[in-house]
Symmetry: C2
Subunit: 350 residues, 2 copies
DNA sequence: CTGAAAGCGCTAACAA
DNA sequence: TTGTTAGCGCTTTCAG
């Protein structure tokens, strides 16, 4: 199929290019019959707008991408933001612009910022949802207004969001389980430290780990699942108690990024290197624990890449008409002591 | 700094836009003094060409990327090619076109194809070098003609190539060593199976592994390094003999993708699951060996991503003026049985 | 050697 | 409701 432009469509439909433009853009000042005819002809000839020409005439931002992510926890969401922004910058010649409306913390201020964003009429909104309940109706509203919503890192199950980009939680849990089983002797007992089983993300990883560990480790058992609610002190206390209570414990899997209190509890009891510890994600403060041998491996969920992929999907959809996949799962990385320096998170300047 | 265009430069330099165009493009029909003046003004005002406008007027391909990779071994290079092509396709609106000149096999026909490519005058050539010696002068010639050369998967050390995109071989070797050490009891003995120590890529991984394994595994030793020269039969024979000779052997690291003969040798001696096997890369034929427990883990060098990154770098450089990094190393992935299905290589349709 | 002008495909403003 | 036209920044052609 030959590439076809507005002038050609105009000729085929026996109308002016102005009319074609109106039909194509769904503007109101046009006869419905004409519109149908023009649209049909465009369709039949596989019309794709010439973005170069459009960008040229519009001059300003052609594609606006709204970005609504929390500031806290920095080590994670800074990465996501960086990924989105860096990727979007690459499309500047195509007229892509990011409108950034950060909110304080997961669940705090996100609905307000999301609504602000809505008013700027972007074509896409990329959001890290913290409070799915309250966000769902807003997302639905956006989609109705023909604004595509891409969720990053976490999903909003009840909503009509176009897409979700996140780590493959199942794979993360499975991989953690398989690694752990190889690190331990058979019939070993382990425990899981998680945030809250109310969180979809955490629950999935716990479930995946619990399911696979006994399969991989002959007679291996998951003794307990401890919920630290991502609170420093609570986690420390509970893990400390756990380690005293369960003397047979050989390994711990931390399914949330909040692993520092766990490391400290292990250290306080002098168990560094004795308890096999597999964690989640990666940030600077973890490095000493890798070096001491407290953490054996960490399943890295690649927040930067998540951001990058979100931006790619957004631009690809708007600019090239690619359909948005309803979900995009990233392969988890394994971070270990010997390769820490290859991860962006461990580098001094970002 | 405001964005500035050719008309504005023309005004500032008191010449016509035609003259500015001539100056900017280094065409010959222009007074050297005028050229300098125009160039200076453009420089001072941070002129960046408007690609949308350029793409519009040129119509045809604006950016031509030459692609010169072997057909064999399919499972690897098909991935690389797919990555380049898929990524380049995303820039069609910018007028990016891939000129594909495959050659038979590493070292066979690559110089011819490279020269063919040279004659099409692309802005960038992406090449998987197989015969660095003979390719080096051609690469240098290309760079002199202002054609940027990006090497993928393997480098050409003596050349002036602009960039190399490959797996982080050091990290691959280190990671393999660390994983292996955790899979084994202390004081274990292992061996390395490689292709040829003449190949830069193989040598680096062998070196990295050999260096780190004793550090991670108390009293661990690398008993032998076996070169299979990526030949099926030779590898099988040598590994078979090795396993019979070294009864103390607890683990094997295969630093080349050619792991199937190793698996077969292990199977022939009934050692599946007894010998801890860490391999390199991933393709369909490996799946049964994961399932049987012959292969414990594989360090995946992500050929698809390598291709993708190459194309990105190329387009970013030409379109956005980003400097090409002299090297770009990818973080190796760890493939294990429980997460095989997340890798593209294991999926039925590509 | 340099300038003037046409036109790429599209949008938007104005005219009919 | 529809048609006409200017012009976005650039390349290219033709005339000086």
């Amino acid at each position: 199929m030959k590439k076809i432009g507005i002038p050609e469509i105009a000729r085929l439909a026996n109308v002016s290019i102005g009319t074609v433009d109106r039909a194509l853009h769904g503007r109101s000042e046009i006869n419905e019959g004409t519109r149908q005819r023009v649209l049909r002809i465009a369709q039949e000839n596989g019309y794709r707008p010439n973005l170069a020409a459009r960008a040229l005439v519009v001059g300003g931002p052609l594609i606006k991408v709204g970005l609504c992510i929390p500031r806290e926890v920095h080590y994670y969401f800074d990465e996501v933001r960086e990924g989105v922004v860096a990727e979007a910058r690459r499309y500047q010649p195509l007229g892509v612009q990011v409108i950034y409306r950060p909110f304080e913390r997961l669940g705090v201020g996100e609905t307000e910022k999301f609504q602000e964003l809505l008013r700027t009429h972007p074509q896409v909104i990329v959001v890290c949802p913290g409070d799915p309940q309250r966000l769902a109706p807003l997302i639905n509203k956006a989609e109705l207004q023909n604004i595509r919503v891409i969720c990053v890192s976490s999903d909003v199950p009840g909503s009509t969001r176009s897409s979700v980009v996140c780590a493959n939680q199942m794979a993360s849990g499975h991989l953690a389980a398989e690694l752990m089983s190889k690190f331990l002797a058979p019939r070993a007992a382990v425990a899981i430290i998680t945030g809250s089983s109310a969180t979809e993300d955490h629950r999935k990883k716990v479930q995946a780990f619990s399911e696979k560990f006994p399969q991989f480790s002959p007679c291996g058992r998951v003794l307990e699942v401890v919920e630290g609610h991502d609170d420093k002190d609570e986690t420390f206390q509970k893990v400390y108690a756990l380690l005293q209570r369960q003397s047979a414990l050989a390994g711990l899997y931390v399914s949330t990024a909040n692993c520092l209190p766990v490391c400290r509890a292990i250290g306080a009891l002098g168990l560094d290197g004795k308890i096999r510890l597999v964690t989640t994600d990666l940030f600077k403060e973890m490095i000493p624990y890798f070096e001491k041998g407290t953490i054996l491996a960490s399943i890295h969920q690649r927040p930067y890449t998540q951001g990058q992929v979100s931006a790619r999907l957004a631009v690809d959809h708007i600019a090239n008409g690619r359909p948005l996949p309803s979900s995009y799962y990233l392969t988890p990385h394994v971070a270990m002591r010997s390769i820490l320096q290859v991860f962006r998170e461990t580098r001094p300047i970002k």
